[in-house]
Amino acid sequence: MKSIRSMAIGAATALAIGAIGVPAMAETPANMLVIAGQIDDITTLDPAQSFEFSGSDISRNIYGKLVNFDPKDLDAGYGPDLAESWTVSDDGKTITFKMREGVKFHSGNPVTAKDAEFSLRRAVTLNKTPSFILTQFGFNADNVEQTIVATGPMTLQITTDRRYAISFVLNCLTATIGGIVDSKLVMENEVDGDLGNTWLRNNTAGSGAYRLGSWKANESITLISNPDFYLGAPAMERVVVRHILESSTQRLLLEKGDIDIARNLNPEDVAGVSGKEGIVVDSELRGRLMYIAFNQKNEILANPKVMEAMKYLIDYEGMKNSFLKGQYTIHQAFLPRTYLGAISDTPYSLDIAKGKTLLAEAGYPDGFEVGLIVREAQERLEIGQSLQNTFGKAGIKVNITVGTAKQMLAVYRARQHDIYLGAWGPDYPDPNTNAATFAVNQDNRDEAGLTGQLAWRNSWDIPKMSEDTLAAVVENDRDVRAKMYEAIQRDHQKRSPFAIMFQKIEQTGRSKNVQNLNLGGAITAVSYWVVTK
């Protein structure tokens, strides 16, 4: 029976050996930036199609644009990038760009006006989801030959269908879709007339600070530096972004020194790492808004008094100070702070008594029952539950339905919700990006299918406000334009079916030796090329 005992001992030893691991390394290499983030939203890296948060983070570091933001001075607004300078014609419809000399793509091809012409025409012709950013200026597949033209090797001319605020046009060109691709390389990889769309999905042809090393969907993205970058070779030779879903996991990795930057820490983990040796937490105001919307197809919700009551039944302060702590600030207008024309009035705060009075005036003294759809994400579930709680105190019984983002979105787009808890991020750094969706609905019929517009999704019929909002995009006087947006927002705040609640603050855990990290504020995406260690 000896053998049995020795076997048992052997088994125990095996278990013990299994348990002894290898101690983790303490530091990442000096020329490498290691980031934990959530990159499962990326579906393509083609700038003409890419339209996700993580995609724009990558794209900004790979593709140069005609005009761009300087990460060290975002407040300055757009400035020259691949276009050195530009002039505007007297009628305000034509902009002529002069391209920067001596810039090369990663392939070694020079960057010319032909490439810029190709890239913008391509984006319009492909007509993918983000194309509206360009087509709203009247470009379409049929007229690009006349409206976007390289008039010389280094001059590009674009002509809009009418006069717009120049800042509006140029702001739109800083969006991901404005990325300039290497026309020669892309056309070499064209398949079936797709203008290289398939190839660019997971290959890159830019002139920016980095080129793509590898992209494993939902796992990681590696960027490799471009030593010939026209602003100088980046200090970080490799940037790796690993997809880590869990905040607590990101925090563990950061504390262990396995990563330099943790992008998605929740308030508890932020509190946990602050004050830890060698770790700093940065807070940066981003453009994303958190709101709830009331579908006007629902008779009860369409009652103005009910909408007002509900705006008073939200525990803004309570949420901000507890589970959203440090990650959101209270904001109640549709333009994010730092945008032209943004207002910071917060007329609403939790007032159950007032809410009850308003409900009684509306004819619902005992409240009513209503559905709330929420996508499956911790933060939103908690907001949903808080709403359920405070609405309940005024007699409104809220039934929460939780589903994946895609499921909930489908319901929302089909206008089948009662109340939708959502987030909205601006698409380009101009006030029109949010104004055009929150305050424009030119055709409220179901058949119109204006699914891109939040006002339409909530069946909010606003012919007059739509007109006012669209009038603001052609106003070239900055101050007048700002005033117009302010007026629209005040009106919107009062009677719209949107209770805008919070604006995002992104908190990033950073290893102390990483310097100059800029996430892009509310207007653009992250810039790795200025980072040093």
Binding site: S248, E268, D269, S322, L381, Q385, N389, I400, T401, G403
Partner: protein, 308 residues
């Protein structure tokens, strides 16, 4: 065949008799002897006791719970266990974890009960029909069973929940859909052994139809092996339900389902370990109890594995 109530002091002797006076007497005696050997195993009794306790808590949750499980108090969130008012601490929205666990036991029992009603019955139906009918029906039904068996179970459940929409009832349905095939196999195997036995032939000669034979004669014979299997599977059912809840596809908030509670508590795990740990312990305890009980039942009902 009526049995008069035996005098109390003689109950034990009556139950232990070697010469039962009636069918009911024999059955009761067998049950009692099973109960005795069952009782002799302390671990089984522990499992049994835990489950009784669980049922008790679930039944009286409204009276036992110190707090309303849904009452939020953002000012008193994430209180550690043992703090005033919160014996097991409070969660991210300031709700009492103990109260939520107590109410959660109702959901757990609800899910288990429903699955246990649906899956074995479905399996029994398919298995006995296939086994009794034979031929094409057998081939077709068993192929279907095989298809379901070849699926990754959690993935299948996920797919169904995703297709039907999240919610407790759908989770129950999804788990049942993945749980029935093994029962069908067992039932079929048992049916095959009985099908050609003399007593079934006898019944058939008496003019009983297939339906009557299956429901009145074959089903009762399959039950005991199914019961053992079901009890052993209960832990699996609880874990599967918790897994779905953990992925956000089970019970919907603010329902205090244990798996969902772990998922909610996961984000606090580094600094506030109790939020995820308490429901985890609850799941563990209950599924352990079912396993202890199932293990004991197997000893009683399945002599092959018997302890003596």
């Amino acid at each position: 065949m009526s049995v008069s109530d035996p005098p109390n002091q003689g109950l034990r002797a009556w139950l232990l008799t070697d010469a039962p006076s009636s069918r009911r007497h024999a059955r009761l005696a067998a049950w009692y002897q099973g109960w005795l050997s069952f009782r002799a195993n302390p671990m089984t009794m522990i499992g049994f006791a835990i489950l009784l306790f669980l049922v008790f808590i679930a039944a009286f949750a409204p009276w036992l719970a110190p707090h309303d499980p849904f009452a939020q108090d953002l000012a008193a969130r994430l209180q550690p266990p043992g703090s005033e008012n919160y014996i097991l601490g409070s969660d991210g929205l300031g709700r009492d974890i103990l109260s939520r666990l107590m109410y959660g036991s109702r959901i757990t029992l609800y899910i288990v009960t429903l699955v246990v009603i649906i899956a074995p019955v479905a399996g029994l139906l398919v298995g006995t029909v296939a086994g009794y009918a034979g031929g094409w029906a057998d081939v077709v039904l068993m192929r279907i069973t095989d298809i379901f068996l070849a699926f990754p179970r959690l993935v299948l459940a996920l797919a169904f929940v995703a297709a039907l929409g999240a919610g407790i009832e759908n989770a129950v349905l999804a788990i049942s859909l993945t749980a029935w095939p093994p029962y069908a196999r067992i039932a079929r195997a048992e049916t095959l052994t009985f099908r050609n036995s003399d007593f079934i032939h006898a019944v058939r000669l008496q003019g009983a139809g297939a339906l009557r034979i299956i429901t009145r004669h074959i089903w009762p014979l399959c039950v005991s092996s199914l019961v053992v299997r079901v009890t052993l599977d209960m832990a699996g059912i609880i874990l599967a339900a918790a897994g779905l809840g953990f992925l956000g596809l089970g019970a919907q908030p603010p329902t205090p389902e244990w798996g969902a509670m772990i998922s909610e508590g996961r984000r606090f795990i580094l600094d506030h370990w109790w939020v995820a740990t308490m429901p985890g312990l609850a799941i563990f305890t209950v599924s352990l109890a079912f396993n202890l009980l199932g293990d004991g039942l197997r000893d009683v009902l399945d002599p092959k594995e018997g302890s003596n």
